[in-house]
């Protein structure tokens, strides 16, 4: 990777954001209320909250797929008004194009940005090698495993060199072992590329293991409860999961999350792709 792209950018501010979904028969539903937090440039910030609390809605707003009812999202000081190549989302389920091979999927972004096909393909190929998928570059997404799909998708996002990467529970649904491996793999890529990242999860161990800072959400209406810095050094490995710093942070986060999880336990969840309702 050339040095130029390591100029750290991607400082994202979510400022007093509120979101209301309305429907004729159920009335307005407040999903997000006065949410404010920052993703410092170059950081890996993790959004942690119980499932169904509207984390995906926040991602949709930052990505620009939907607009906040109140408040404002900015990236490097510029207001987000729609989707753009400076922010890329890696979704919960794979959004790799099923009709393209892995190579075509990863090369798609650069080609759209005007890079000649051959150059785009060799760069895509190199990145696929980095994520261990060189041998599978001519396969279609349906022909590889879930873990491989996520890696290919991370590669497709990284190659586009966004200022901000949004990962919306990208490892959900993988078995325990693959999940752990994916986390390690992912951290290696993060250290290498230093792309500012907002990572969404409902798994506390995953959150602490990955994060520079944790943004903990409360439940219904969802708002930011606390921000905790995670001072664990990088590069990280799984031995840190037993360190005392880790234990303290986990205890603190668990205390906060437990009450929210209790509230979430007997309430209907917000649809995972709720933000799409108006635009689809």
């Amino acid at each position: 990777m050339d040095q130029a792209r390591k100029t750290i950018s991607g400082h994202c501010r979510v400022d007093a954001v509120g979101k209301v979904f309305g429907s004729a028969d159920s009335g307005p539903e407040i999903v997000l209320k006065n949410c404010s937090f920052e993703v410092p440039a170059g950081s890996l910030t993790v959004l942690l909250g119980p499932s169904g609390c509207g984390k995906s809605t926040l991602v949709q707003l930052v990505a620009g797929y939907d607009t906040p009812t109140l408040g404002n999202v900015t990236l490097d000081g510029v207001s987000v008004t729609g989707p753009g190549t400076d922010r890329i989302v890696v979704f919960q389920e794979t959004a790799l194009f099923p009709w393209m091979t892995l190579l075509d999927n990863v090369a798609y972004g650069p080609i759209q940005m005007g890079i000649p096909r051959r150059e785009a393909e060799s760069e895509a190929s190199a990145l696929l090698r980095d994520v261990g998928l060189k041998a599978f570059e001519d396969r279609y997404p349906s022909q590889i495993s879930g873990g491989m799909q996520r890696r290919a998708e991370v590669a497709r996002a990284l190659i586009a060199r966004p200022k901000l990467m949004l990962l919306d529970e990208p490892f959900r649904g993988l078995d325990h072992m693959s999940r752990g491996l994916m986390q390690e793999y992912y951290l290696k890529l993060f250290d290498q590329h230093q792309t500012t990242t907002l990572f969404v999860t409902s798994e506390i161990d995953e959150a602490i293991f990955l994060a520079d800072r944790l943004v903990i959400l409360s439940y219904k209406p969802t708002t930011v409860q606390t921000v905790i810095d995670v001072p664990l050094p990088r590069p990280r490995d799984f031995q840190m999961l037993t360190s005392s710093v880790y234990g303290q942070i986990k205890e603190q986060a668990l205390d906060l999350l437990y009450n929210e999880a209790l509230k979430a336990f007997d309430q209907p969840a917000i649809p995972a792709n709720g933000g799409v309702r108006g635009t689809a």
């Binding site: 990505a63 190549t85 989302v89 979704f91 959004a95 194009f97 393209m100 586009a160 792709n273 689809a280």
Partner: protein, 266 residues
């Protein structure tokens, strides 16, 4: 090993595994039972009109050798594929335009919803009066039969594309053209092929009925003519030929679909 012998050995492996599967033999047993019951019914005098399988087997080669039998395939096939081809072309153009523009869709869709439930054969009297030749009448009917299922399936295909693909494409900086060619079109392709497969089946149904009503050749006419001349073997041969033609058409459709959508092959 050469490619040819590799293919042959692959074929052999596939067939030998098929022969070992009980499902294959059960299917065969079912078919054999059907013909046996038919033959026995004829022996004990239950079916005096319909020829027995043995009589059919003896009579069919002669019917096939009769002048004009293969020409009937060509005539019906030409009607089916002309009507189907025009329908596919128009439905794809109109369907894609409607899928991309909500205004156009709002303009055209209600009209099509009124026309769509009219069965193709209900157009027959009007078509006979309107078109100068019976050939054009028959082609028109097959067109009507194929047009709406193709159109409808394209619309559904475009509508049902997962919003995540569109979002991902937007985030990756897709131009309008790329969004259309590389995301919307391939995304709608499976649904389009569903429409095409349904449509080709309907065109065979329609062409047979149209030929019986207003044709002077073709497989439908041949079946009807055999009825008029009391050729029982001819009737059954006509039926079998129509079935085979329909089967072959959907098989071709499936092959084209597999070629066009390599990502759907296992």
């Amino acid at each position: 090993m050469t490619a040819g012998s590799e293919k042959a050995s692959l074929l052999w492996v596939r067939w030998s595994s098929r022969l070992r599967s009980p499902v294959f033999w059960q299917g065969l047993l079912g078919i054999a039972t059907f013909f046996a019951v038919w033959q026995i019914a004829r022996w004990i005098g239950w079916m005096t009109i319909i020829p027995s399988p043995v009589e059919l087997a003896a009579g069919i080669p002669e019917e096939i050798e009769r002048a004009g039998y293969w020409q009937n395939w060509v005539d019906s096939g030409r009607r089916v594929f002309t009507g189907f081809g025009i329908a596919a072309l128009l439905a794809i153009v109109i369907g894609v335009a409607m899928g991309m523009s909500n205004r156009l869709r709002a303009l055209i869709f209600p009209l099509f919803e009124i026309m769509r439930p009219i069965p193709p054969l209900a157009w027959l009297p009007l078509a006979i009066l309107f078109w100068p030749s019976s050939e054009l009448t028959m082609i028109f009917l097959t067109f009507i039969g194929a047009f709406f299922p193709i159109l409808l399936n394209i619309l559904v295909g475009i509508e049902k594309i997962d919003p995540r693909y569109k979002q991902a494409a937007l985030s990756l900086g897709s131009s309008r053209g790329a969004m259309f060619r590389r995301v919307m079109m391939p995304g709608a392709l499976p649904s389009l092929f569903t429409g095409l497969t349904i449509a080709i089946g309907i065109t065979w149904e329609v062409v047979i009925a149209a030929e019986m009503a207003s044709g002077t050749n073709g497989l439908g006419y041949m079946t009807w003519d055999s009825y008029m001349t009391h050729s029982m073997v001819g009737i059954v041969l006509g039926m079998l030929s129509i079935g085979l033609a329909g089967m072959a058409s959907s098989w071709v459709m499936r092959l084209v679909g597999e070629k066009a959508m390599p990502w759907r092959r296992r």
